[in-house]
């Protein structure tokens, strides 16, 4: 099929046009596609030029199509007008009187249409990129806000349970206290921890432990809604009760929390039973600070735990004050030791046969810078609880030995010194070395040192302390059982232990007022038992001559108490010995 002359010449024109457009801008099409498009437009132009009347809309349409096909640059318009003007009439062999006139009008229409289309395209593109920028900015801001919210959430929540963490809780508590303080309103706290939670971790592993924590957290927050539950770390949680109307409100919350925990949790096929303890504080917000509330709730929680757990305890200011004072006192012991605030008084142990001074019991005192001289019953218990009894008892032992050596010069029959040993001191390895070193350093003869231990010291049945005491006894050190008859009074250890002496508790002596009282019979039996075992007996708490007489009648060897002398500095006691005064 041959091409018509018209189409052939149109083809030459379209190719020339395509060449003219080449490189004016990026044309997203192949050469052939471009030529195909331009051929169609050429035909349109040619037909228009031949048709009467001249349809100028065709000029606009051609221009619009060019721009729509991305032939959309100033250069493309210039070259298009140029190539049409120069070649179209010649290449298509268009003739006519008014052809140049018609051509001018058609070109004007093409140029106008092109400029319009280009302007519209530019405006559309500008609008579209602006819209994209706005969208992108809005998205970025949204994402930023979301990430800020996420970050804030991360910073204020516990990752394991997703409960509010300490930070958020502190904020909320502070805000709650602030808000309530003005109106004279009340706030409450439940400080909760899981009982022996470590045991769950130990027996099931931490993974199960963690899941149990998550389960407990979920239950707690559901049970006490709408109150805020936070995880402070580990197995410690705290519940904030805002707008409390009284203790009852907060106790109800604590009970709901404990009840929620009571059901066993099924974790990975393990039935994990969790109980909790709760410390409750409830008071007028204006009377407290967040720190106070937290501290008080923490102490109260300890009371609940000490009482055995699986319960709540309510804050008690008096108890708290006492505990705080005790704690402060206990904390001051190490400093007191360093600063030499402790000193010893001695109380005579007198022979009931001739009234002579056999020994003295060392009694520690604390010259507290604020509280004055403190008796041992105010701080020894604390020191025993905290373990500070070890350094303190060590100091007492050393000081007693040091002072006792000096008494040799003062009297021909220097008394032995009796020193109390706490359970922890006896059970501690190294006691033998400690005593041996002391004796060597001070030169105190071993038989002038008596160690008083309590029955409870021996109750553990451990062999090590028995062995240590035996070694000390072998050295010549006297071993006495303090407060005999009030505790366990297991006679078996009297057989095993190298005991020299029994010290009978003062309460039996107090009963000696009534003749033929049970106490007297008990004492008499104790004395005969002791003597049968080759032990001496010292009665404590002897306050009157009458008691001393009865004890002497029973056969008791020695006495200690106000009747024989109150605790006093060593020099006072020695002075009396020198003066020959009876004890």
């Amino acid at each position: 099929m041959g091409e018509s002359p018209e189409a052939a010449s149109g083809g030459a024109f379209a190719r020339a046009w395509a060449k003219a457009l080449w490189g004016t801008s990026y044309l997203p099409m192949t050469q052939a596609q471009l030529e195909g498009l331009l051929q169609r437009l050429t035909d349109l132009l040619a037909q228009t030029l031949r048709t009467e009347p001249l349809d100028l809309r065709v000029g606009h349409r051609v221009a619009t199509e060019l721009v729509a096909a991305h032939i959309a640059s100033a250069e493309a318009l210039g070259r298009t007008l140029e190539v049409i003007q120069l070649r179209l009439i010649r290449d298509l062999d268009l003739a006519g009187d008014d052809v140049s006139d018609r051509m001018a009008r058609l070109l004007a229409a093409v140029a106008t249409g092109y400029a319009r289309a280009l302007r519209d395209r530019t405006l559309d593109e500008q609008e579209s990129i602006r819209r994209a920028a706005m969208t992108a900015r809005a998205e970025a801001e949204l994402a930023l806000r979301a990430s800020e919210a996420r970050f804030r959430h991360q910073a204020t929540h516990d990752p394991l349970t997703d409960l509010p963490n300490r930070t958020l809780f502190a904020e909320r508590l502070a805000a709650a206290v602030d808000a309530a303080a003005g109106g004279g309103r009340r706030v409450g706290l439940c400080f909760l921890d899981l009982d022996r939670f470590k045991r769950i971790n130990d027996s099931y592993g931490h993974q199960i432990g963690d899941r149990a924590l998550v389960a407990a957290a979920r239950r707690l927050s559901r049970a006490v809604e709408p109150h805020l539950v936070a995880r402070l770390g580990g197995d410690a949680f705290v519940i904030l009760v805002e707008r409390s109307t009284g203790t009852g409100d907060v106790v109800a919350v604590a009970e709901a929390a404990l009840a929620a925990l009571a059901e066993p949790v099924l974790v990975d096929g393990h039935d994990v039973t969790i109980t909790g303890s709760v410390g409750i504080v409830e008071r007028r917000a204006a009377d407290s600070s967040p720190d106070d509330l937290m501290r008080a709730a923490g102490s109260t929680l300890n009371w609940a735990k000490t009482a055995g757990g699986a319960r709540w305890a309510l804050y008690d200011a008096e108890r708290d004050d006492q505990e705080q004072a005790r704690q402060a006192l206990s904390a001051a012991i190490p400093t007191g030791l360093e600063r030499g605030e402790f000193f010893l008084d001695y109380q005579p142990l007198a022979s009931l046969h001739d009234g002579s001074l056999l020994g003295v019991e060392a009694l520690v005192r604390w010259r507290h810078p604020q509280l004055g001289v403190l008796r041992p019953d105010t701080f020894i218990g604390l020191a025993e609880e905290t373990g500070l009894i070890v350094p303190l008892g060590g100091w007492v032992l050393a000081e007693a030995c040091r002072e006792a050596v000096g008494w040799t010069a003062a009297t021909t029959r220097p008394p032995y010194v009796s020193v109390n040993l706490a359970v922890r001191q006896v059970r501690r390895p190294g006691l033998v070395q400690e005593v041996r070193a002391l004796l060597r350093r001070t030169g105190l003869p071993p038989d002038r040192l008596q160690l008083e231990i309590t029955e409870s010291t021996m109750m553990s049945g451990a062999e090590e302390p028995v062995r240590a005491l035996r070694t000390l006894a072998d050295l010549g050190v006297r071993i006495a059982i303090d407060d005999f008859g009030t505790g366990y009074s297991n006679l078996a250890y009297l057989r095993d232990l190298p005991v020299t002496e029994l010290k009978v508790a003062g309460e039996f002596v107090r009963g000696l007022r009534a003749p033929e009282a049970a106490d007297e019979r008990i004492l008499a039996s104790l004395v005969s038992l002791a003597h049968a075992l080759n032990l001496t007996v010292t009665a404590e708490g002897v306050e009157t001559g009458g008691q001393a007489d009865r004890l002497r009648a029973i056969g008791c060897d020695a006495g200690q108490g106000w009747h024989f002398g109150r605790p006093a500095p060593a020099e006072n006691i020695l002075a009396r010995v020198k003066e020959g005064a009876p004890c």
Binding site: W22, G23, S25, Y26, P28, T30, Q31, A32, H70, A72, S73, R121, T122, L123, E125, Q126, S128, I129, R131, A132, A133, T135, A136, R137, E139, A140, E141, A143, L144, S147, E148, F151, A155
Partner: protein, 269 residues
């Protein structure tokens, strides 16, 4: 409060964007005054800049046509920029309507614009990600939803590697992409080169791009060829982009003026 690393950046349209500058070179109006000013400075330094962009765009078109003809139906266009005229999906879907295309760009405005253009096209999508994190691109759920990596994929890294300095280990990036591809997949690369260019001209061009977030990092033909490690180069190899399978002999004339080198490699096996 320190912003965590996953917090997004804000949009700064006060800085020229290389994507919008490229649009300007191509004669588009998807750009702002700041982009035009930078692009004009580039044109002053390197008068062929618009020509380079056009030649590169034409290379992309021919490469996609070639790949479509070779049976490729999945395209991953990384560094796609502003979806100006002659997008990959337009070219590919014109020749093979079942082609699926994922555009990837780091420029949030370019991504937003692409999203608008692609609205209603179920076979093309866009994700905002950085070429320097191929693992994130490959793991992106939108990428995974559109592309089946058990089938051949054409990965297009066209006119973008010159924004990845050696410190960012472009070879490793490409290796990571390659590792995800099935045999029969393709890699299309092009980037600006300083082969045969004037030192002063290069320095001036680099100066212009230092104003953007994407400084220019030109490379030699040998370096670009090295990036095809693991791929078999399709004839004619790495060449000035107008020389890559030109439609007419004339269109390959003065090819080195195009500044861009390009090539297509096939993953064997």
């Amino acid at each position: 409060m320190q912003r965590p690393d996953w917090a997004p950046e804000t949009i700064d349209v006060e800085r020229p964007s290389v994507a919008r500058m490229y649009d300007y070179y191509l004669g588009g109006s998807h750009n702002f005054a700041v982009d035009r000013a930078a692009a004009q400075a580039m044109v002053a330094a390197v008068p062929e800049a618009p020509l380079m962009a056009q030649a590169n765009r034409a290379f992309l078109r021919r490469a996609v046509q070639y790949l479509t003809a070779a049976g490729i139906r999945q395209f991953l266009d990384i560094g796609s920029g502003i979806p100006t005229v002659g997008n990959v999906h337009e070219i590919a879907q014109r020749h093979a309507p079942d082609s699926r295309v994922v555009y990837v760009d780091v420029d949030p405005v370019a991504v937003a614009h692409s999203r608008e253009i692609l609205a209603g096209n179920d076979s093309a999508t866009v994700v905002q990600e950085d070429l320097r994190h191929p693992e994130r691109i490959l793991a992106h759920p939108d990428v995974r939803a559109m592309i089946d990596f058990d089938q051949p994929v054409a990965v297009l890294v066209v006119a973008v590697l010159h924004f990845v300095p050696d410190d960012d280990r472009p070879a490793e990036v490409l290796r990571a992409l390659r590792a995800a591809l099935a045999p029969g997949s393709y890699l299309v690369l092009s980037q600006a080169s300083d082969d045969g260019r004037d030192e002063a001209e290069r320095a001036e061009a680099e100066q212009v791009y230092r104003r953007t977030d994407s400084p220019l990092w030109v490379r030699s033909r040998a370096e670009l060829t090295g990036f095809f490690d693991g791929f078999e180069l399709i004839e004619p190899g790495v060449v000035w982009v107008p020389q890559w399978r030109p439609e007419t002999p004339e269109s390959a004339e003065d090819a080195e003026r195009a500044v861009f080198l390009g090539g297509v490699g096939r993953l064997g096996g």
